[in-house]
């Protein structure tokens, strides 16, 4: 119990995972010199169970209001948290897909690694519902709080005949 408890404490010492990696304070130097070398050999044990975590649960809110809009054949079908346009809302807001929507709308860099898959997924669902559609657009918008005067930042799109996902920065 002592061993496991100490191990847990070592792995998850509150706060140390959020220190600047070059922090020159006493705690930062202790972290680099003692804790990190001790937990490195334990990493292979954590991987098969996927339990490594720094527990930074909901540390921050977004600085600006970001929304995803889905346009099918020029018609708005979905907008984040908008009960009027809620086609595919249960899927796009589900806890496992939401992080993909978030990263695809927040970043246009390498951090948005699944935007092609997201575009393909939405396009396939749209074609099931509206088989005659020839274009599906996912537009990300941003605005200051409380969320008025939104402007588009980038657009992910798939269209007939090849339906290959494309992205355009606006």
């Amino acid at each position: 119990m002592l061993l496991v408890g100490s191990w847990l404490f070592l792995l998850g010492t509150p706060g140390l995972d959020f220190l600047d990696s070059k922090d020159q304070g006493v705690i930062g130097r202790f972290n680099r010199a003692v804790r990190v070398p001790l937990i490195r050999p334990l990493e292979p044990i954590q991987k098969p169970f996927r339990i490594a975590q720094n527990w930074s649960l909901y540390r921050d809110g977004p600085a600006r209001v970001r929304r995803l809009e889905v346009w099918v054949a020029g018609e708005l079908r979905y907008r984040s948290l908008d009960s009027e346009y809620d086609w595919l809302a249960p899927q796009l807001r589900s806890r496992r897909l939401r992080p993909v929507v978030e990263s695809s709308c927040r970043y246009t860099s390498g951090k948005a690694r699944n935007w092609r898959g997201l575009t393909r997924y939405v396009a396939e669902r749209a074609l099931e519902r509206w088989p005659e559609a020839t274009q599906v657009q996912l537009t990300c918008t941003v605005s200051p709080f409380p969320g008025e005067d939104a402007r588009p930042t980038h657009r992910m799109e798939a269209s007939a005949p090849d339906w290959t996902p494309r992205r355009e920065i606006l």
Partner: protein
């Protein structure tokens, strides 16, 4: 020497295994419900088939080893295995093997689609692994009835201590991370952080425009969140049940204001251990 003896006696002291059985049932049920919801939304193949085989995920962890054996079906097999194992764990049949196989399969799901594997999934896996070493498998379990085994009514106290310690680390880390990365959680002016969290259209449920004029509400709730998380050390004291009541309030608040799937139910699944002294008092009072 005396301190060591006290410690050994403490960790071996038997405690009621019923709250652990409830943790087992609720944890497995939360996960089961979450996975069935994925099926209900028609997203099993979307999430658990890799991008190269027609799924959504463009990248997998290098520890996603099941695909080397099962190819394109790996994620689906992991999904089915986790589902069956969690059902067995919840009803109490072959619990220990079900937890080992189930946690490994559940981890493979995370390796298969990393963005969908959140902090709550890791917490659940940790606690399932902890339950493996308790007598939770032989209390409130169908396995006892099927095999005509007597229930094991007690388990060693170390498990309770370890679960509390684990929850202290989780909540305390969350509180410290909030303050280290966003000190405005304690600000007395400006837009409250909690307002931004709860009205984020991508994850929240509240209308940003409607709640814009009520910053004080969010500011006070934000301070309360930090106080509660930093106060998690109380879980190591006799005040734990009272802290847990506030924790229940916080998680219900999160459930009604945010769209985080099973997060709240998953965390509340551990609370029977914390609330057990209060629950027992109520039961005793009813029995007169």
């Amino acid at each position: 020497m005396r301190a060591w003896r006290w410690w050994v006696e403490r960790v071996h002291r038997p405690v009621d295994s019923t709250p652990f059985a409830w943790v087992r049932i609720l944890t497995a049920s939360a996960l089961l419900g979450d996975l069935l919801r994925v099926a209900q939304l028609g997203m099993v193949r979307t999430l658990f088939v890799t991008g190269e085989h027609g799924g959504l995920g463009a990248f997998q962890d290098d520890t996603f080893v099941l695909d080397r054996v099962l190819g394109s079906q790996a994620g689906l097999v992991a999904y089915g295995t986790t589902l069956v194992c969690m059902a067995l764990t919840a009803v109490g049949v072959a619990v220990r093997p079900a937890i080992v196989v189930g946690v490994l399969a559940y981890a493979q799901l995370g390796h298969c689609f990393p963005p969908g594997d959140r902090a709550i999934d890791r917490v659940l896996r940790c606690v399932l692994l902890l339950l493996l070493f308790t007598n939770a498998h032989r209390r409130l379990s169908l396995g006892n009835l099927l095999r005509r085994l007597p229930p094991l009514r007690t388990t060693a106290r170390w498990a309770e201590d370890l679960l509390r310690w684990f929850m202290v680390l989780v909540y305390l880390s969350a509180g410290i991370a909030k303050l280290m990365q966003q000190p405005r959680w304690l600000a007395i002016d400006g837009t409250p952080v909690l307002y931004r969290v709860m009205t984020d259209p991508l994850a929240g449920q509240l209308d940003a425009a409607f709640w814009w004029d009520h910053p004080l509400l969010f500011r006070v709730a934000g301070w309360g969140t930090i106080a509660l998380e930093l106060g998690a050390v109380l879980l190591l004291t006799r005040l734990a049940p009272w802290w847990a009541l506030l924790g229940v309030g916080m998680h219900l608040g999160i459930f009604f204001t945010m769209k985080l799937g099973m997060f709240s139910w998953g965390m509340l699944a551990f609370y029977p251990v914390l609330l057990w002294p209060l629950i027992q008092k109520v039961i005793d009072r009813r029995r007169g």
